[in-house]
């Protein structure tokens, strides 16, 4: 059996998915974080089935990449049951999607999620009546607490075994007449088979001017499109509005009617969070709070990281002299052992102490719902560099890892915005590069220097954004962004999310780190290291860095944290400040911060913006890195 979770953005689909599939999909409190679907096997009461978490869609009309992906999946695959997840506190709006889903005539179960939120808002829903009016089962849940999910899946499986096809509701008479006429026309054609949809669904979408369907048909059957345009004109004449508006307002009225007939409104609860926004989104206090929150965040990361870095490093390096003594300093075995020890130490002592608190803090900011507020506050500034507020979300996610951040650019509407934001995202220090800033700059040059690096980075990103948008002048379509209610994050979900992201480091990066260390040891043993350093010496000489760091820059393209961890090894000391001056440490960090995205990022860039533009991004960031690092060398 195959079950699909469908619903509007931020209604809790991924939370339900994670509950049955284990924590596999990232959940956060902002609309549009799921950009591709995830599939998992699930077992419920001894029955196995497949469950799909689709990206959130406001409607079934195609105009957003993630939404189009959801709809394509829904129409392409054989789905046994659709679970339509609705944020109960936004029932009126959610029903608009439900009405479109019902037109698909698939077995459907409605899940009214966040029912506690709705009650806090004073919205009391008559579940039985809603179920009767729509003709499908309705189950209430509170997904992040796991409440009601058993009943949801019980109902879903029942539906899967004994499918009841849903019915659709009809619009006003005059509009309905036009739809029926078009349906008759469609029946003569084979389009419903081609798209795997019902005639009614296709008819309403064509009347709504759905670009995807119209383009597909246009190439083969211009005559039919002309007929469709005739029906569109009829609708326009009926209501004196464009045909898409007629259909969408019909649907809106219908959902509002439904909403009013099943909901009893009572007084909303008084809660502190309702007043939070008067400070956090205030024209003055909003920005002050933003600065304070970011300051506390980075302070927290540095404080926790520094607490563990030194003792852990000391712990690991105490083994090295012992190994040297027993194995002999020149032996191959000693080089391998010291490579492994340094790789382990790099992961445990330098990366993890900063990575864990950082990811925890980021997850906290994501789940409370603060990020859309930041987008709201930053919209004005982003407009000055030719983007709009929503672009801040991929940029902030970039502080975690560039790969999901580049994917998150799909929440932007225009291709140009996605391209510019993707390039800028690669220049935001990801967790790996942040550990470099903390581990090198903050550790050796002090926290103030580290804050300077972060601020400097923001300035560079802003200037680069300005340059790119001047190269590609085009007016951005403007921001339309939902600001969701604040949520108190669940500790369990926070930790699962941190673990999901850490696992990526532990499983993929760490082995690379250890292998890299061993390879470097072996290169040293056979004196090949010098050859590579020689090749990179034009760069290292220009930047005034020790020639020995050349090889770490190569490894850094694989994984950014390798650059720093292997720096220790390449220079052959534990205390870097003994061989590199403050200027050199700063120059090295600035260079590593901007130069060439890592391999994983390059791969995702090729997928999202194409290979030509990826090459541009690589060259662009490399030039910026060379230029800024050279300046740092002479100025800092």
């Amino acid at each position: 059996m195959r079950i699909a979770l469908v619903g509007q953005p931020n209604c809790g689909k991924s939370t339900i998915f994670n509950h049955v599939a284990g924590y596999k999909a990232i959940t956060s409190n902002f609309p549009g974080k799921t950009v591709k679907y995830s599939i998992s096997k699930m077992t419920f009461q001894g029955m196995t089935s497949e469950i799909v978490d689709l990206p959130g869609s406001y409607s079934m009309t195609s105009f957003d990449l993630a939404e189009l992906e959801a709809r394509k999946y829904l129409l392409r695959e054989e789905i046994d049951v659709v679970i339509n997840v609705i944020d109960a506190s936004l029932l009126g709006r959610g029903l608009e999607l439900t009405l479109q889903l019902l037109e698909l005539n698939l077995p459907t179960v409605i899940c009214l999620n966040m029912i506690d939120e709705a009650e806090a808002k004073g919205i009391i829903v008559d579940i039985d009546k809603l179920s009767r009016l729509l003709g499908v089962p309705v189950v209430t849940t509170i997904a992040h607490k796991g409440w009601g999910l058993n009943q949801l899946f019980e109902t879903t499986f029942k539906m899967g075994h004994k499918p009841v096809k849903s019915e659709f509701l009809t619009f006003s008479k005059d509009v309905e007449q036009v739809i029926q006429d078009l349906i008759e026309h469609i029946k003569e054609k084979k389009y419903t088979k081609k798209f795997n949809v019902t005639t009614r669904f296709l008819a309403t979408k064509l009347l709504e001017n759905d670009q995807h369907f119209i383009d597909e048909i246009k190439n083969q059957d211009m005559e039919f499109i002309k007929a469709v345009q005739g029906y569109q004109h009829q609708l326009e004449k009926c209501r004196d509005r464009s045909s898409d508006e007629v259909i969408s307002s019909e649907r809106h009225h219908l959902s509002m009617q439904l909403y009013e007939s099943v909901v009893k409104l009572s007084k909303p609860k008084k809660e502190i969070r309702n007043y939070l926004d008067s400070v956090l989104m205030h024209p003055v206090f909003g920005y002050i709070s933003l600065v304070v929150i970011m300051y506390l965040f980075f302070h927290f990361v540095f404080y926790v990281g520094a607490l563990f870095e030194e003792p852990l490093l000391d712990f690991f390096y105490q083994f090295l002299p012992y190994a040297e003594e027993t194995l002999g300093a020149d032996s191959l075995l000693y080089h391998i052992v010291s490579g492994v020890v340094q790789g382990l130490a790099g992961g445990i002592a330098i990366v993890l102490p900063f990575l864990f608190p950082f990811l925890l803090g980021l997850a906290f900011l994501e789940d409370t719902g603060y990020l859309p507020r930041v987008a709201y506050l930053m919209d004005t500034f982003l407009h000055r560099i030719g983007l709009h507020g929503k672009a801040i979300i991929p940029l902030i996610l970039g502080y975690g890892c560039t790969v999901p951040a580049v994917m998150a650019t799909r929440i932007l509407e225009s291709e140009r915005d996605r391209f510019i934001t993707s390039v800028l995202t690669t220049m935001i220090p990801c967790a790996a590069r942040i550990t470099i800033i903390f581990g090198l700059v903050a550790f050796y040059l002090g926290p103030t220097a580290a804050i300077f690096v972060f601020l400097f980075n923001i300035v560079v990103v802003a200037v680069a954004g300005k340059i790119l948008s001047n190269i590609m002048p085009e007016i951005t379509p403007g921001m339309i962004l939902e600001i969701p209610a604040y949520h108190v994050p669940s500790i369990k979900i926070l930790l699962s999310k941190v673990w999901l992201r850490m696992k990526e480091f532990i499983v993929i990066a760490w082995p690379l780190l250890i292998i890299g260390s061993v390879v470097l040891s072996l290169l040293k043993h056979w004196n090949l290291e010098g050859l590579i350093n020689q090749l990179i010496s034009p760069v290292t000489l220009l930047l005034g860095l020790p020639v020995a760091v050349g090889v770490t820059l190569i490894f850094g393209v694989l994984r950014k944290e390798l650059s720093m961890v292997m720096l220790v090894q390449a220079l052959g000391v534990t205390d870097i400040s003994t061989v590199m001056s403050a200027t050199q440490i700063m120059t090295f960090t600035i260079f590593v911060l901007f130069y060439v995205p890592c391999v994983a990022t390059i791969a995702v860039l090729i997928k999202e913006i194409g290979s030509k533009r990826t090459i541009f991004a690589v060259i662009f960031t490399f030039l910026i890195a060379i230029m800024l690092a050279t300046i740092t060398r002479f100025v800092y």
Binding site: R93, S248, L377, G478, M479, E482, I483
Partner: protein
């Protein structure tokens, strides 16, 4: 009197009369529940040419300046 959403004071209740602009912008607004005829509360008017914040059917939506100028409204008394 029909005016653009950017010219409305914070805290006013407004009724949407028309959305100027093409299919794309109209669809994106209707998705968030903003249709002609709907009443919404302007929570914060934009400052420094920033976005406006409206409350529509109990949900907060931020609209960038460019979008907000295209939403024509009547202030309800």
């Amino acid at each position: 009197m029909v005016i653009s959403l950017t010219n409305v004071k914070s805290g006013s209740k407004v009724r949407v009369t028309r959305i100027r602009g093409g299919l794309g912008i109209r669809q994106r607004l209707t998705c968030l529940g903003i249709h002609p005829g709907d009443v919404m509360l302007l929570q914060k008017s934009g400052f420094m040419r920033g976005p406006v914040l409206v409350n529509i059917h109990g949900n907060q939506v931020a609209l960038g300046r460019g979008i907000a100028t295209k939403v024509l409204v009547e202030v309800e008394s």
